[in-house]
């Protein structure tokens, strides 16, 4: 294990505590100076007040379970004081923690107020101790984790893994119905009509157009619509109605195309057509 592990170092000693050769160098006793230096801290090295508290707790050199929270609070407050006197800028959360610990300290020192609501000072202290212990445990666990036989450091995977060829097989889907439909489509293509609304007595407009186009050439003079009706369609009711309507519609189309003229003397009067005189064409 050559890796430098910050957590491991954190667990073994007190990191980030750096002596600062500052204005406090007038102290006489070495012990005093050491204690002072221990408190003068590169605050940026701590990850927040809880981290600082844990570091301070380690200075107590007791089991975290038996830590004196009161003592810890005093240490923390002393640290804050020291930092202030050295004009070290502290982030707001350190000051907030200081206020909270000052409050906790006063609660711990005062006799418990039976009227007071919420957690007792002891409960608050116990929780702080639990938090410190839990954070220390997680740091220890992290160090153990990083010290394991890690892949790529202690254990290795196959250096030249063999590639797995991906083969794609296509399964064609076709059922008998598809086959029959395809064949039916081919065999009946000429007569193929997806939709057939067959009625015996319908004369279509396309038929009428064809007929009218063929006949209109001969209609140099006004000719009655009924004269254009095909044989067998001029007599009976439904067939005659269909043929009349289709022929009339066809005549409108031819008129629109400028090929014929339409005349009706009055409402319900007979309708007649004639070929449009050539002279009128542009």
């Amino acid at each position: 294990m050559t890796e430098r592990n910050p957590v491991a170092r954190a667990a073994s000693d007190i990191p980030y505590l750096r002596p600062v050769h500052g204005p406090a160098s007038d102290a006489d006793s070495v012990a005093h100076r050491r204690a002072e230096e221990a408190l003068i801290v590169d605050v940026d090295g701590y990850e927040g007040p809880l981290d600082l508290l844990l570091t301070l707790a380690r200075v107590q050199k007791v089991d975290l379970m038996k830590i004196s929270v009161l003592h810890l609070a005093e240490q923390y407050l002393a640290f804050i004081e020291q930092a202030r006197s050295l004009r070290i800028e502290l982030a707001a959360d350190y000051l907030v923690m200081a206020a909270w610990l000052a409050f906790l300290k006063s609660r711990l020192l005062l006799p418990p107020d039976p009227e007071a609501e919420g957690p007792s000072a002891e409960e608050m202290a116990a929780h702080l101790a639990f938090q410190l212990e839990r954070l220390a445990a997680m740091r220890q666990a992290a160090a153990q984790l990083m010290g394991r036989d890690r892949l790529g450091i202690s254990r290795f995977q196959r250096g030249s893994p063999e590639t797995v060829a991906k083969k794609r097989r296509t399964e064609w889907q076709a059922g008998l119905i598809d086959l029959m439909r395809a064949y039916a489509r081919l065999k009946t293509r000429d007569e193929f009509r997806p939709y057939a609304f067959d009625r015996q007595d319908v004369f279509t407009m396309e038929q009428a157009l064809d007929r009218l186009r063929a006949l209109i050439g001969y209609a140099g003079d006004w000719t009655d619509l009924s004269d254009f009706l095909p044989d067998g369609w001029a007599s009976r009711g439904a067939r005659r109605r269909s043929a009349t309507a289709a022929t009339f519609a066809a005549s409108l189309e031819l008129a629109r195309q400028g090929r014929i003229e339409i005349r009706q003397p009055g409402p319900f009067a007979p309708i007649s057509f004639r070929r449009k005189p050539v002279t009128d064409q542009p």
Partner: protein, 220 residues
């Protein structure tokens, strides 16, 4: 180094079994084959990679992985008989193209049938790819040559085809009348004297362009 006496005499050298483990691990983790010299450079002093390699070769003989010599180097490789495991197959379901299914239908109903006949029935040239696909799927194979000028090849359907479609023989394919009865043929024989279609057959591209009412209302 294989002499037991020498091995016991020189206790600093790892025993052969340990050397085998070392060579095994080094070769396993290496990205490329390693020569005896490469191995010697990585092993503790006094080790003999050649002996360890020989031992490993024996250990791996007949296993799923074998120690192979590649040029000057050694490497682990999948046993040749297991190379089929080094591929994964994914099955993709796809529908046959219209051209393929129509060509297949013509072959099934008209076999043996020549390409020219298929084209005549379909009214479209049959692409080589379509027939190749059907042959590759093993649904169609080339039958006897037709005894006509040019001796064209014919196409017939295969057993695989019959299996897939659940047919005993191609004669079991339903006839046109049955298709009609099954409602697969929707058209009826043209009514006498009136075979003007009322609607264009949808989606059919074979219909001629000149319809009577082509330009009928398009200006509106």
């Amino acid at each position: 180094m294989t002499d037991p006496a020498a091995a016991t005499a020189d206790i600093d050298f790892p025993p052969l079994a340990q050397q085998e483990r070392m060579v095994e691990a080094i070769l396993f983790a290496s990205g490329q084959p390693l020569s005896v010299r490469d191995l010697a450079a990585r092993l503790p002093a006094g080790c003999d990679p050649a002996d360890a390699l020989a031992g490993l070769r024996r250990i791996y003989a007949g296993r799923g992985v074998v120690l192979e010599r590649i040029g000057d180097g050694y490497a682990f490789r999948t046993a040749p008989d297991l190379s089929f495991l080094m591929q994964t197959e994914t099955v993709e379901q796809r529908r046959l193209s219209r051209a393929a299914i129509e060509t297949l239908a013509i072959i099934a109903y008209h076999q043996p049938v020549t390409r020219a006949e298929i084209e005549e029935i379909r009214g479209v040239a049959v692409s080589r790819g379509t027939l190749d696909q059907l042959i590759e799927m093993e649904w169609v194979r080339i039958g006897r040559r037709r005894m006509t000028p040019g001796r064209p090849a014919t196409f017939v359907v295969t057993e695989t085809f019959l299996d897939h479609f659940g047919l005993e023989s191609a004669r079991d394919l339903p006839g046109l009348a049955e298709l009609r009865a099954a409602g697969l043929l929707e058209s009826r024989p043209p009514v006498e004297g009136l075979h003007m279609p009322l609607a264009l057959p949808e989606g059919d591209d074979d219909v001629g362009a000149s319809e009577p009412g082509d330009d009928l209302f398009e200006d509106e």
